[in-house]
């Protein structure tokens, strides 16, 4: 499905420093309907990796093959002049649907996402968790086979984040999409993903790929989850 072969990416650095290598020889295969989590320290090139997958950037060397992917950026970036339903159906409008049909397509989802009653609210009237759900729905409704999620819950408080992780896990089980989930929260990666890719500090290299063969729904306190979390943290630590 998604295939990255020895992908490297560098940015022109400041004049004195020379180019800044962000990703170095990253290879990755993701099967259809698989959820893969990418963890790594801040600045190791996670967002860059997602943008490569989405075709927003080209690699300097290596190859990226990926079906169309829709991005959910690190910040929700909801449009303040649009209501919840119009924000959620933005991709449909961009793709040429008229307003009435785009809204009709989005409305049943709002109910499912616990946003019932807030269809006409503006972003500033929503809580952080709700905004994140709208942003996720907006990306989901783009209808692409691949979802590229960039730290979707990083800005939320711990309680809301835990709720949202459970919620996302259920949605992804029903939705059968291929998901690349970037996070710097190792526990989140283990709870949500089929496989966890651990990246080193910049330049990002693949330190480990950890399969997560734990049945869903997963519990934070499950010994298998705890062990895998420790394993991922070990892998992260070995790169420092």
């Amino acid at each position: 499905m998604i295939s990255l072969e020895r992908v490297s990416r560098a940015f022109a650095g400041r004049r004195s420093a020379g180019p800044l290598t962000v990703l170095s020889e990253v290879s990755l295969q993701v099967r259809a309907a698989e959820t893969i989590a990418v963890v790594g320290p801040s600045g190791c090139g996670k967002t860059t990796l997602l943008e490569l997958i989405c075709g927003l950037q080209q690699p300097d060397s290596g190859s990226v093959r990926c079906p169309p992917a829709a991005l959910m950026p690190q910040r929700d970036l909801l449009l303040p002049w649009l209501s919840t339903v119009d924000n959620a159906s933005l991709a449909l409008r961009v793709q040429g649907l008229d307003r009435r049909r785009a809204r009709a397509a989005a409305l049943p989802w709002l109910e499912r996402f616990g946003l019932g009653g807030f269809e006409r609210a503006r972003p500033h009237e929503l809580s952080g968790g709700m905004r994140q759900r709208v942003a996720f729905l907006r990306t989901l409704l783009a209808g692409k086979p691949v979802l590229a999620l960039d730290e979707p819950f990083a800005s939320l408080d711990a309680i809301t984040r835990a709720q949202m992780q459970g919620w996302l896990s259920r949605i992804l089980e029903q939705e059968q999409r291929t998901v690349v989930l970037v996070t710097h929260d190792v526990e989140e990666a283990v709870l949500l993903a089929d496989r966890v890719l651990v990246l080193s500090p910049r330049p990002g290299r693949v330190l480990a790929t950890i399969p997560i063969a734990v049945a869903r729904p997963r519990l934070r306190s499950d010994p298998a989850v705890v062990a895998l979390r420790a394993q991922a943290l070990d892998a992260l630590g070995s790169g420092a």
Partner: protein
């Protein structure tokens, strides 16, 4: 600060200033030909109300039309400069140059070219007013988050869709900010335009009354101009709150 105090405080300042002014003139410190007393200005506002009202109409028409023309031109120019880097390099510098033209020089020339009617005044007002709107609208167009543009690209949005869905709405607050600046400038521009040659308007009235040393009426005219400018500004602020309410309701997830 309480609402009532907010209203009373500026009023108090004005009353104190007017009081000092009245006392100063009444004491005979200056001739009323140089500085009329406030009570004389107020009296003139009443006795000369017909002349002032009669002359306000053409000036108001010039200002409102001029602002509309300026806004339309500014939006078009800002969009063009935003979308085309060639236009930016080719047109922006000459555009800045137009703003350095001294209006007192240009206005009489415009009268000889375009006559004594509405047109030369419209040109002066539009010329003075469109530039601030171009600048603020352009910064609004450019204020769109690059990550939002990336998001839209993964939704298959082309240049036009990105412009329509993200950039144009983001430019509206800028357009309003520019229009509020321009509204005040428009009043000054209208007076300069009329003083270069006109047969009616508050600028014309100002020229005539000053020439006749009717200082009280001249000051009353200025008072009406000030009131008109304030009204225009308030009207635009109201329209802004209606049209772009989101600029007053920022809520950033990053802060939460």
């Amino acid at each position: 600060m309480s609402r009532r105090l907010k209203l009373l405080a500026p009023l108090l300042t004005v009353v104190l200033l007017l009081g000092a002014w009245e006392l100063y003139v009444d004491a005979g410190a200056v001739s009323s030909l140089v500085l009329p007393a406030p009570h004389a200005v107020l009296a003139s506002l009443f006795t000369d109300r017909a002349a002032i009202w009669h002359n306000l109409m053409p000036t108001a028409e010039e200002i409102l039309l001029g602002l509309v023309v300026a806004a339309v031109v500014a939006l078009a120019v800002a969009v063009m400069l935003h979308l085309s880097s060639f236009a930016r390099t080719a047109v922006y510098p000459p555009l800045v140059a137009t703003q350095a033209i001294p209006i007192p020089l240009l206005a009489p020339l415009l009268v000889t070219w375009l006559g004594f009617g509405l047109l030369p005044k419209l040109v002066v007002i539009a010329l003075v007013c469109f530039f601030p709107m171009v600048v603020t609208t352009m910064s609004g167009l450019a204020s769109v988050d690059p990550d939002l543009v990336k998001l839209l690209r993964t939704f298959d949005a082309g240049r036009l869709q990105t412009f329509w869905r993200a950039e144009l709405p983001s430019a509206l607050p800028g357009l309003f900010a520019g229009a509020k600046l321009a509204a005040v400038l428009a009043v000054i521009a209208a007076i300069l335009g009329e003083q270069a040659g006109a047969s009616s308007g508050l600028g014309y009235l100002l020229t005539v009354t000053v020439a006749n040393l009717e200082m009280a009426e001249a000051f009353a005219t200025v008072l009406v101009l000030i009131a008109f400018a304030i009204m225009l500004f308030a009207l635009l602020s109201f329209a802004e709150r209606r049209a772009v309410p989101w600029i007053h309701q920022r809520s950033d997830t990053e802060v939460r």
